[in-house]
Every structure is written in structure tokens, then in C-alpha cells.
């Protein structure tokens, strides 16, 4: 039987575009469906606009540092609207670049939602298309925990890039990397910021020293932390949004923080599998994510999945690499698996942080602390670093 496409990709985000282009370059006939804007989360409401806002947030510190170098005092005000317009302008420019790249690679773009009719057939808008292989690269969406009363009043990271005004009192629920990055962005831009976490510290999963160092540095910049909290509740009043939390250690202590209409729920993301018609196929879903093997193959042999919808390591370069490994294997005659060891990653807080390989705790679990040595330098202003932590077994 012949199909309309050798490969059809659902979702033109980081993973989908990378796979589509690579497969087309090998000569495959490829189509991609995208219900939103080209480039996916990373380009439209993730890495790219976020990093631009990180840059915007750094200027006040540079302005003040300048005086140490002999520059006169800098008087400058942020125009929030201008910043948002500039950031979105860049996003639109990138949308155009992705369009051109796909066209140049001769990938058909269908600007529509796609859903499965059967394992080889997709409903894309009004049309039905068939493909020999189908790659699911639908990404993820932010989730708000419905167990929190009043959570409907909170925004998510998707909304932040379209806020008409700068929030003056900004409250972040959650201590994951997205939440703390936005906390630093808003603080740098001049807002009052509070971060509320259930854990004892931000950035669970990262190295302990790194977590402490970032949280302390953020505190010094005036960000307030409420750690070890429980029973969060949001309430909308005339004066703004009131957020009440209970102290999880001394349960009698309750804290209330006010935010002006806005509070960011940075409380996690989940694969975007609604209306995808997976039940028309044998694709298996495990804990909300598409289950795949090391070659990104699902339980339906001709259907594959890459990126955030598989909830492995949710980063753009990982989605891209998974997508390319898939294309190399099936269309380039170069069978390969993505390697998940030593994936470097950054946290664009102020100060910035980055890491690769095992945390001290992970290394201890794997090798035992007798076999480890952790060497650290922790220095401040001085040119010659003052090592304050050198730990040896």
C-alpha cells in the first residue's frame, strides 16, 4: 500500500521540526501539522522569549555597576509594553525563519490540529492524510494543581509573555527552574517577588550546594521565600490576589502574601495528549506520557514519539537530538540512540547556574561517599578566589 507521506510529524516544535527537516534532507516525503505557531514551546513561550526577558532584567545591575567604573549615575525606566513588544517581535521573526527552513527542506506544512484516525491515518483539519511512519512531537502544557483553592486566578508561564502591565507584587508558586527564573526576571525588572515552595529549598533534584547558593543569592536581591509550606489557597479580593499558606513545620503559623492580580503557577507541565486520538491506535500512555523505547518507538510499531510528550528529559536540545536520532535511524541508514548521560543544563536565574553530570548526592548513591571527593570554590568579589569548601574523604 502506498501512503501520502513517508513521514508525517504532529507538532512543529523543537523535536518535530528537527526530525522533519532531517528526514526530508535524506529524501523522504515529509509533512508536519502544527495547530499553533511554528517553533513550539521553546520559540513561542519558553527558552527564547524567557532568555530575552532575562537579558532585559540584567540592565539595572549593569547600570549600578557602571558607577564603580567611573560612569555617572544612570537614570532609566523600563517600559514594560515596549519590552513585551520587542520580545514578541523577535518571536514572530523566528516563526518566519522556521517557515522558510521547512519550506527549503521541502516539508509540507499543515497549519492545523492533527488527530489519529488509525495507526497510518490522520485527520488534519478537513483533510485525511496517510503516512507510513508517524512521529508524535506534541510537547507539553503547564498544569495548575486543581487541589489548590482559587488556582483559577493564577496565570501560567504561557501568559507571562502577554501581560499588558508589569506586575508590582509577583508571587511564584513552585520552586522549579521555570518558577525561579521568572522570579529573578521580575525582581530584576523591579517587582516585589515572593516564591512559595513546598520543599525546604528551591530547585529540587539539583546539587545541594547549587540550590543553597542560588536561593541565598536570590534572597540577597530581595526575593522573599516561603519554603516548607502547605495548604496554599488563593483568594481574589478588590485589593488584589491574596495567597495564604500554612507553615509545614510549625503548622499553626499562617502567612498571607498579596499579589496584584497576578500569580504564577509554575507547578509543572504535562504532555499535551488531549484530542490526539491515541485511542485509535495501540500507542501506550504511562503516567500521562507516551511510552517509548530507546529508539523512541511506541507500542504501535509505525508510530514514534519524541520530546516533552514522552516526559524523559524536557529540554529543547534533548527533543532535537531525539528527533534527529529518529530520522537518522529510519531515513538516513544510521541507526542510533540518543544518549541521556551527562546532559548539561542551565538555570537562567540571577546569578545564572549550570550543571553537567552527577550531583554530589547522586554520585554518593552510585559510588558510595568513600569513593568520592567533592571540590568546590566559593568566592565573592575578590579576584583571587577564597576557597571556603574543600571537602575530601
Amino acid at each position: 500500500m502506498s501512503y501520502d507521506y513517508d513521514l508525517f510529524v504532529i507538532g512543529a516544535g523543537s523535536g518535530g521540526i528537527a526530525a522533519a527537516r532531517r528526514a526530508a534532507e535524506y529524501g523522504a516525503k515529509v509533512g508536519v501539522a502544527e495547530s499553533g505557531r511554528l517553533g513550539g514551546t521553546c520559540v513561542n513561550r519558553g527558552c527564547v522569549p524567557k532568555k530575552l526577558m532575562v537579558y532585559a532584567s540584567h540592565f539595572p545591575a549593569h547600570f549600578s555597576a557602571a558607577q564603580g567604573y567611573g560612569w555617572s549615575e544612570v537614570q532609566s525606566q523600563l517600559n514594560w509594553e515596549t519590552m513585551i513588544r520587542a520580545v514578541n517581535g523577535e518571536v514572530t521573526r523566528l516563526n518566519g525563519i522556521y517557515q522558510q527552513m521547512l519550506e527549503k527542506s521541502e516539508v509540507d506544512i499543515c497549519a492545523n490540529h492533527a488527530s489519529f484516525v488509525d495507526a497510518h491515518t490522520l485527520q488534519v483539519g478537513e483533510a485525511q492524510l496517510t503516512a507510513e511512519k508517524i512521529l508524535i512531537a506534541v510537547g507539553g502544557v503547564p498544569v495548575k494543581p486543581q487541589s489548590i483553592p482559587g488556582i483559577e486566578h493564577a496565570i501560567t508561564s504561557d501568559d507571562i509573555f502577554n501581560l499588558q502591565e508589569q506586575p508590582q507584587h509577583f508571587v511564584v508558586l513552585g520552586g522549579g527552574y521555570i518558577g525561579v527564573e521568572f522570579a529573578c526576571i521580575l525582581r530584576g525588572l523591579g517587582s516585589e517577588v515572593t516564591v512559595i515552595t513546598r520543599a525546604d529549598k528551591i530547585l529540587r533534584g539539583f546539587d545541594q550546594d547549587l540550590r543553597s547558593e542560588i536561593q541565598e543569592a536570590m534572597q540577597k536581591k530581595g526575593i522573599r521565600f516561603l519554603n516548607n509550606t502547605q495548604d496554599i489557597a488563593l483568594e481574589k479580593r478588590d485589593s488584589g490576589l491574596w495567597i495564604t499558606v500554612k507553615n509545614g513545620i510549625a503548622e499553626t503559623v499562617t502567612e498571607t502574601v498579596m499579589a496584584d492580580a497576578v500569580s504564577l503557577a509554575a507547578t509543572g507541565r504535562s504532555p499535551n495528549l488531549v484530542n490526539l486520538g491515541l485511542d485509535q491506535t495501540r500507542v501506550a500512555v504511562k503516567e500521562g506520557a507516551i511510552a517509548v523505547d530507546a529508539f523512541s518507538q511506541t507500542a504501535e510499531p509505525n508510530i514514534y514519539a519524541v520530546g516533552d510528550c514522552t516526559d524523559r528529559i524536557n529540554l529543547t536540545p534533548v527533543a532535537i537530538n531525539e528527533g534527529r536520532a529518529f530520522a537518522d535511524t529510519h531515513f538516513g541508514n544510521k541507526s542510533r540512540q540518543m544518549s541521556y548521560e551527562n546532559i548539561p543544563t542551565a538555570i537562567f536565574t540571577s546569578p545564572e547556574a549550570a550543571t553537567v553530570g552527577l550531583t554530589e548526592a547522586e554520585a554518593c548513591d552510585q559510588y558510595g561517599d568513600q569513593k568520592l571527593r567533592s571540590i568546590a570554590v566559593d568566592f565573592d568579589r575578590c579576584t583571587t578566589p577564597c576557597p571556603i569548601t574543600t571537602r575530601k574523604p
Binding site: 545591575a61 549600578s64 555597576a65 557602571a66 558607577q67 564603580g68 567604573y69 539539583f206 546539587d207 550546594d209 547549587l210 547558593e213 542560588i214 543569592a217 540577597k220 548521560e341 551527562n342 548539561p344 542551565a346 537562567f348 546569578p351 545564572e352 547556574a353 549550570a354 550543571t355 553537567v356 553530570g357 552527577l358 550531583t359 554530589e360 547522586e362 554520585a363 559510588y367 568513600q370 569513593k371 568520592l372 571527593r373 567533592s374 571540590i375 568546590a376 570554590v377 566559593d378 568566592f379 565573592d380 568579589r381 575578590c382 579576584t383 578566589p385 576557597p387 574543600t390 574523604p393
Partner: protein, 73 residues
Amino acid sequence: MYYTLPNHDEKTLMKLVVHTETDQVLGAHMVGDHAAEIIQGVAIAVKMGATKAQFDATVGIHPSSAEEFVTMR
């Protein structure tokens, strides 16, 4: 160094986790300016299984923060 003249209170943390028997660098962590730019290069070494001795045999770029990764005791 950038923060010395303005007298800003900014700290930098650099940390290596090393296996004592194989001397392999198992993890590298950094908090401070340009951490992402710095760790990307370090990641190649870690991915290749570089040892602490190989880190130390590498000459630093001076003056920089990144050079700490090859001069740590």
C-alpha cells in the same frame, strides 16, 4: 572580578564531584555569571570521561572565572 569595583555582593560557586579511585570527574556545577557558557565546554570533557588530572593539566584562561575549573585543589 567585575563586581570588585562596584562593590556588589555577588558570589560564584564552582564545584567538581570526582571519583577518588578512577579520578574521573562525575559532575561539574556552577553558580555565577556566564555559567551556561562555561559549563557547555566543561560538559564535553565530562562526557568524554575526563579525569581531574586532565582538568588540572589544562591551562586556564586568565583572568576569567572559568579558569577555576582547571586550578581547583
